[in-house]
Symmetry: C2
DNA sequence: TGGAAGTTAGTGAACATTCACTAACTTTGT
DNA sequence: ACAAAGTTAGTGAATGTTCACTAACTTCCA
């Protein structure tokens, strides 16, 4: 489990990465943000990479909660996809710095362990989405003139770009409200 | 105009960024890659930022050629969108490091001048795509139950994610061939 | 022969990390 | 009940390394 201070460091690191990119994520900046000195950071993490690893864990577990809740209900496949993304929009609205994690290939490029971890997360999410699509195609809800693999790229790609635009715009529009419209468009696209 | 050496530096920088990210883009690595010493770089560029600016210019002008050729012919809107992306796939296949530029928000985050330049490029491409979609909607080619703005996110987002996956996979599959299938899927999605 | 393009050898600043040390707690033995 | 011993979370100073960049010298070619 994580101590209060560790959580504080992880959250500060996320904000730092979100605001200034990897280049801004230095131990000095991190310590300044929290209001302690640089060496104090090392009382809570053995090194910088461990902080990044914890960020990924933090994201992974908080994603798991969303997924569990959604996947095991009796909604239709299309409804499931809708809810999945609504939940993500809510999560990103509450903690905008989390967005950096889903576009973190660049941030985590430095270390093979990090690349491995991020690949794991991406692949798991991919597989979940493809599974939902396949189910929907099997029961006639979702069009089957396009392979699930390609539909998943269309869905995930749309949402990623949309969130990226929100991040690029400095979170200046309502992700939740605008996002609903995009979700509606995607539903129209994938339905049979 | 650019000298041979300047071109060589720009291309080496692109490869470096593509292989190792921003963190790998140092003057030392750049000089090593070309086979000259660090100070020699400064005979050709006043500083590091100028190299990044030149990369963006390099991308911008080479994109302009593709766009010009495609926009002023008599193809249908859907064909135009298809050709646009086929051409990009060909370009990326020839010069894989160019992919880094379209995902360069992170790389160019350090300098306001760079952010401005990359924003310019993104907005121009966005507007061109939206224009094509609107034309297609007006003449009944493209579905109009979804706003052009959202369709453009779906199209652009799909292709970005697809190219990102290709980059992430170390360019291990045939972008051109696989890409054609994605383009066909997108055509099915947007047609009336 | 002179300027362009290269070199060697440096600069200060920033980086992650380690050092010796301390103030303020908690635990433990008598 | 209370002091000795140990722990936790912090400090300022310093580590070696890397960074972008520069001054001064040399080589090469038109």
């Amino acid at each position: 489990m994580q101590t209060e201070r560790q959580k504080e460091i992880i959250e500060a690191a996320l904000v730092l990465i979100n605001d200034k990119g990897i280049q801004g994520f230095t131990i000095k900046n991190l310590a300044n943000k929290i209001g302690i000195t640089e060496p104090a950071i090392y009382r809570h993490f053995t090194n910088k990479i461990q902080i990044l690893i914890s960020i990924l864990e933090y994201f992974k577990t908080s994603t798991k909660d969303i997924l569990k809740k959604e996947l095991n209900n009796n909604d239709t496949s299309i409804e499931k996809i809708g809810h999945l993304f609504t939940n993500h929009f809510i999560r990103f609205s509450t903690t905008p710095s989390l967005v950096s994690v889903i576009f973190s290939e660049e941030v985590f490029r430095s270390e093979p362990i990090l690349i491995e971890k991020i690949t794991e997360v991406i692949e798991r999410n991919d597989n979940i989405l493809i599974k939902i699509i396949c189910d929907g195609q099997a029961n006639g809800e979702i069009r089957n003139d396009i392979e699930a693999k390609y539909l998943s790229i269309v869905i995930m790609g749309s949402l990623r770009l949309f969130v990226k635009k929100w991040q690029f715009a400095g979170n200046s529009f309502n992700l939740r409200a605008e996002g609903e419209k995009l979700i509606e468009s995607i539903k129209l696209i994938i339905e049979k």
